[in-house]
């Protein structure tokens, strides 16, 4: 289903093979299994990534590649390799301003109001699948910038977890190059980083003190059960690597990890459609989040 803009396909004639229906099928397979969606108008991006996998496999056509994804014995490994191509290079700080804007304008005010009624002034955010740490450091800067505004008088901390020890080591070290910092303003760099050499900067102790890094396997029930009291969970481009039943389990865990009224954010092309219906999909300008309604919330009202 693409938004039907009128009559037939447009503008795709130069790259004739884009009209190959196999690309749409590949797109749909990816969506069904991983929840990552590519609108029809952006198929050229997908085609480029599929192209890289095709040459690696020596596949002659998208149809043949589709077989690798669906019929061959190595399909799970191949899907993972393709997803790596799709999500590659997406990690840098302040990657998703709309998510932070939603936090600032809607989510934090909502949570603050609800918690103040109960006399709580503590906020917990979890970056689940934090990779090399760009996301938790972004959140740390964001929260610190709000600490004399929205969060005045509040305490807050960030849990950052990943399965990969190497990524976690990089994250803990907090040294980043220009790619990771490309969307970080000079002002924030000055405030929260120190220059290591002419190409790299290191996160300040103030940032690091806010974040607790830990190795967590999201499929590890015993560990997941103990992570409680979260207000917001970020889990971007992580669930895409899980099969449907494991994904369901992880999302159910997230639901109980979150406090009532808490939010879950996924990667910008990810969807929980048919994975979970305990969360409610909420639209914010430029982003969507998943909301855990408080007890007693019923349809027909608004969060």
């Amino acid at each position: 289903m693409a938004i039907d803009l009128g009559q037939g396909k447009t503008g795709l004639t130069a790259e004739a093979d884009l009209s190959d229906p196999a690309y749409l099928k590949i797109r749909d397979v990816i969506y069904q299994i991983s929840g990552i969606y590519q609108p029809e108008e952006k198929l050229y991006l997908l085609a480029a990534r599929v192209g890289r996998r095709m040459s690696a496999l020596n596949a002659k056509s998208p149809v043949e590649y589709l077989e690798h994804l669906t019929l061959r014995g190595n399909r799970e490994a191949e899907l993972r390799l393709l997803l790596n191509e799709i999500t590659i290079g997406e990690t840098y700080m302040f990657r998703s301003p709309p998510q932070l804007q939603a936090l600032r304008t809607v989510i934090l005010p909502q949570i603050i109001e609800a918690k103040l009624k109960l006399g709580f002034k503590r906020l917990r955010v979890w970056s689940a699948g934090c990779s090399t740490g760009e996301e938790p450091y972004t959140l740390a800067m964001f929260l610190l910038e709000e600490s004399d505004k929205l969060l005045k008088g509040w305490t807050f901390d960030i849990l950052a977890t990943d399965l990969n020890d190497n990524s976690l080591a990089v994250a803990k070290n907090g040294i980043y190059g220009e790619y990771s910092l490309r969307s970080t303003t000079p002002e924030l760099r000055r405030k929260y980083f120190t220059q290591v050499d002419d190409k790299r900067m290191q996160a300040s102790d103030q940032l690091k003190a806010l974040i607790r890094f830990d190795r967590v396997n999201l499929s590890d029930d015993s560990k997941m059960l103990f992570l409680k009291g979260m207000d917001v969970i970020f889990c971007c481009n992580v669930l895409i690597y899980f099969d449907l039943s494991s994904k369901r389990k992880v999302v159910q865990h997230f639901n109980s990890n979150l406090l009532p009224g808490g939010y879950l954010f996924l990667g910008h092309a990810e969807s929980l459609y048919q994975v979970d219906d305990s969360f409610r999909l909420v639209h914010f300008p430029g982003t969507i989040g998943y909301w855990k309604p408080p007890v007693g919330y019923s349809d027909g009202g608004k969060p």
Binding site: I3, G6, Y37
Partner: protein
């Protein structure tokens, strides 16, 4: 709005007609499209379109735009036949409206306004198709015209409206909420008055009146549909041109419940995917607006 204010608004809207910028094509066009579609003579439409050079040109640009993907539509006749009467109706009304507002009277600027209106038209039509609403082209027309009142407000109270939009943008609030405070009426109400004056179809007038008030029990499914499309556009960078503080549980909206009652298959709609498809279409919406509507402002 009290009756005194309403009458005042009616009078001001009537004076609009005397303005030289209102294309002569509008009234006969609306009258023509009151007839059932199969009784409308294509020749009559071609004649009307050809009558106004600006509108004929805009119509051609639309037919040649990436949205329709046709190669080289060079005559009005070809454009009308190729686009189909329903689409021509929507385009003509859009183009007529566009030339109704002089360049210096646009309060929400023309590019922003048409991106929002065209976006809403396309999203409404697509949603109509997905949920099985019987007349997707009607949904398109209603989406295109739902904010008619914004143009009315820009024309009848330009300076007050400028302050109003400015304030809405500073407060990051929905326009209709601030209009109530600044003007005493909203674009829903002023749009309705003009829609009635122009004798637009009753269900389109209802959309114009109720697209921010889908809880209104008398409103039909079309108003609910456009209400949801309007919200979707406003959270996907096709809004009023400023950041609105919005956190919307669409499936928890009254309009959603109304639509599900009429179209039960809607419960299966994949909203996340639909949203990403809107993003995918963004480039073409922008390209179309830039070539068709925004060129002269």
């Amino acid at each position: 709005m009290n009756s005194e204010k309403l009458n005042g608004l009616r009078t001001r809207i009537k004076t609009l007609e005397a303005m030289p910028t209102v294309p002569a094509i509008v009234q006969p066009l609306v009258a023509l499209f009151q007839q059932p579609l199969d009784q409308i003579e294509t020749e009559k439409v071609i004649e009307l379109v050809s009558y106004d050079k600006t509108i004929a040109a805009q119509c051609l640009r639309m037919a040649n735009s990436p949205l329709f993907g046709m190669r080289k539509v060079e005559s009005v006749r070809h454009a009308v036949v190729a686009l189909g009467l329903k689409r021509v109706q929507a385009i003509l009304l859009g183009c007529s409206l566009n030339s109704t507002v002089p360049a210096d009277r646009w309060v929400v600027d023309a590019v922003t306004f048409w991106r929002h209106s065209l976006g809403c038209a396309l999203v409404s039509r697509q949603m109509a198709k997905i949920i099985g609403y019987s007349d997707p082209e009607k949904a398109y027309l209603a989406g295109l015209l739902h904010d008619l009142g914004i143009l009315v407000n820009s024309l009848v109270c330009t300076e007050d409206y400028r302050k109003c939009v400015q304030t809405a943008s500073e407060r990051h609030m929905a326009l209709h909420l601030v209009e109530e405070e600044f003007l005493g009426f909203t674009h829903c109400q002023s749009g309705k008055v003009l829609g009635e004056h122009w004798r637009l179809p009753a269900d389109v007038i209802e959309v114009i009146e109720c697209h921010h008030d889908a809880g209104n029990i008398t409103a039909g499914p079309l108003a609910s549909l456009v209400h949801l499309s309007d919200l979707l556009c406003r959270v996907r960078d096709l809004g009023y041109g400023y950041y609105e503080v919005l956190g919307i549980d669409l499936a928890g909206d009254v309009a959603w419940t109304t639509l599900v009652r009429h179209h039960p298959q809607m419960v299966n709609m994949d909203l996340a995917r639909f949203t990403m498809d809107i993003d995918g279409s963004m480039d073409e919406i922008i390209a179309t607006v830039d070539t068709v509507f925004a060129n002269k402002h």
